[in-house]
């Protein structure tokens, strides 16, 4: 019995959805462990994975009988078969935020589905709540990220470029057990910190610099995400004021993160505190983390989401002063019933190298 598919079927039932076409490879991997090109059909009675000859062998090696998934080669499926997969299904869902308009039209034509409906992130919502195995993997990724940060504090020297440090981060992760990075590391120094999504440049690290490092790795298919803002030799006074304000809000948010917390309220709390000092909160305060580094739900200004037990989500307030500098501090935390467990253990007080 594949528990994740069983759970999906129950969720589908509650939405009156009798079939589903799953084509997002991350959702397929989540449900089945399959890493290949293909499509997963949840029909009334069966789970069918359609792939091609390049992947048949690999897919069969991945699945067990317990998965109860029929694997077929796309070559052996006729138009008649396509039209019959969902013949008795009233509503068939698809991933409207993954499927392109072109593919949508192709599916409509091929499967001749009467009520082809948006599945409204049904799998992404399932993925938001992590099981113990997933939590363990994210914990491992966060631990390795802390270790990488500790290493960086000894590695970074004046005269090195941002690019050089970013490369060292990737190297560290790969050489220490990660499958890869969860996103290209951000290493921004001095004025470059004013851009939240700065790409590392050839700028050299100088005395008095402020440096933002945003990085994460992938362990057993699961991501980590962490940001620290550090200082070279000394902390300039005009950095301090902003740093203190960001840190105060980051710690305050940690206190509020638990089952039942309202994401919009969390965002508004930080936004309004920033506004007292004439600063804006220009990006989300956080996002869930899992197989992807950015997952549903966000902690943003628009939608109200309720945090639930076993969500893993970032807490990352930031302030950016155009043309001057920026500060961001980010942890990855596990939501529990009565509070949160911070999976990121690195120091957050002034770090001076």
């Amino acid at each position: 019995m594949n528990l994740k598919i069983k759970c999906l079927r129950e969720r589908m039932k509650s939405l009156n959805m009798e079939g589903m076409i799953i084509s997002n490879p991350i959702n397929i991997r989540y449900l089945t462990n399959i890493e290949a090109e293909g499509i997963l059909l949840i029909t009334r009675k069966e789970n069918i994975y359609i792939t091609d000859s390049r992947y048949i062998e690999k897919v069969q090696n991945t699945l067990t009988i317990d998965d109860e998934i029929i694997v077929t080669d796309v070559k052996n499926i006729s138009q008649y078969d396509y039209e019959n997969f969902f013949v008795f299904c009233e509503n068939v869902g698809f991933e409207e935020k993954y499927v392109t308009y072109y593919k949508y039209r192709e599916f409509m034509h091929k499967y001749k589905i009467n009520n082809f409906i948006e599945s409204e992130d049904i799998i992404e919502k399932q993925r938001a709540i992590k099981d113990s195995n997933e939590i363990e993997n994210i914990k491992k990724a966060c631990k390795l990220t802390d270790e990488c940060f500790k290493y960086l504090l000894t590695y970074i020297k004046k005269g090195m470029t941002e690019k050089q440090i970013a490369f060292e981060i990737e190297k560290y992760f790969k050489e220490n057990g990660a499958e890869g990075i969860s996103f290209p590391p951000i290493v921004a120094s001095g004025i470059n910190t004013s851009m939240p999504h700065a790409v590392p440049t050839n700028k050299k690290i100088e005395s008095g610099d402020i440096i933002t490092i945003d990085m994460g790795c992938i362990v057993n298919g699961y991501c980590s995400d962490m940001t620290r803002t550090i200082f070279v030799d000394f902390v300039q006074d005009y950095y301090k004021k902003v740093y203190d304000l960001v840190l105060k809000n980051q710690l305050q948010t940690l206190e509020e993160m638990k089952e039942g917390a309202n994401t919009k309220q969390l965002f508004k709390m930080v936004e309004s505190d920033f506004s007292l000092y004439k600063y804006d909160l220009i990006h989300a305060l956080g996002h869930c983390v899992g197989m992807e580094v950015h997952e549903y739900p966000l902690i943003g200004p628009h939608k109200e989401n309720i945090l639930k037990e076993n969500m893993i989500i970032t807490n990352e307030p930031g302030i950016y002063i155009p043309g001057k500098f920026g500060v961001r501090i980010e942890d990855t935390v596990l939501i529990t019933k009565f509070g949160c467990i911070n999976l990121t253990k690195s120091e957050k007080n002034y770090i001076i190298i």
Copy 2:
């Protein structure tokens, strides 16, 4: 004057398209060099890039006056503005193979466009023909890939794992001037070579092994792609027969690749030669390479595409015997009027390490 946008506008005109919403970040980077989150509108008279406060500064640093692109913060755009961007445009195109069904509906609602039409890969088709700057970058990427292969021949030793070799490839590229890899390297040995898209495992390299290495890097935003199948200590006889057949067809295809060649015919030529020996050609014979490692057009069995001058495309026949082994040999080549220039220079006769 931005020549790429000028060329796009001419192509649009010939399709009776008076406006376009461009949201694929690769197409945006191709046209503007912008690397950010945002959307590019080609309206009747203007080019408008809409982004948010996180990226405004970075985007303004990327563009020059010559680009003639107006940059705006999404915050400053009203519903009235959205409805007026394309008010006099008869047909407005969108990227139907990139835009999700969800986004499509959002665009429809927001821009109130009367004739919102599929743009039929208009930009991807433009990208298929490389300019001299793009060709230089891909040449550099191919050269670095050759150098990496040369290094690997001295690096690979019996007892190493596939994963270890794959990691060394990434490391080599990063340490020798590439921005990154164009895809996760495939290193498959022995029986694992029977899967064309094998993921490196902990299997150790042994005497008598056959090893397939498929790899590429990114230089200045452009990709390379190359595969070699090599042998450890000696070439087992049953590998030889298949290797010779693949190589013969790879060389034959190189002879035929030039402006005017029909991709379906190229595919069929190899497929029918393989079938004489009861083998199948189970994947495309090639694909264009550029900012992405897989670009339009393919050399496949279905569509007839005509090769054109300054396309850069792979030539990669392969044979895979399930549960036994596989052979693939792949070069990246530049199409010219009278033949092709092989950008991959590595040896293709038996390579024994």
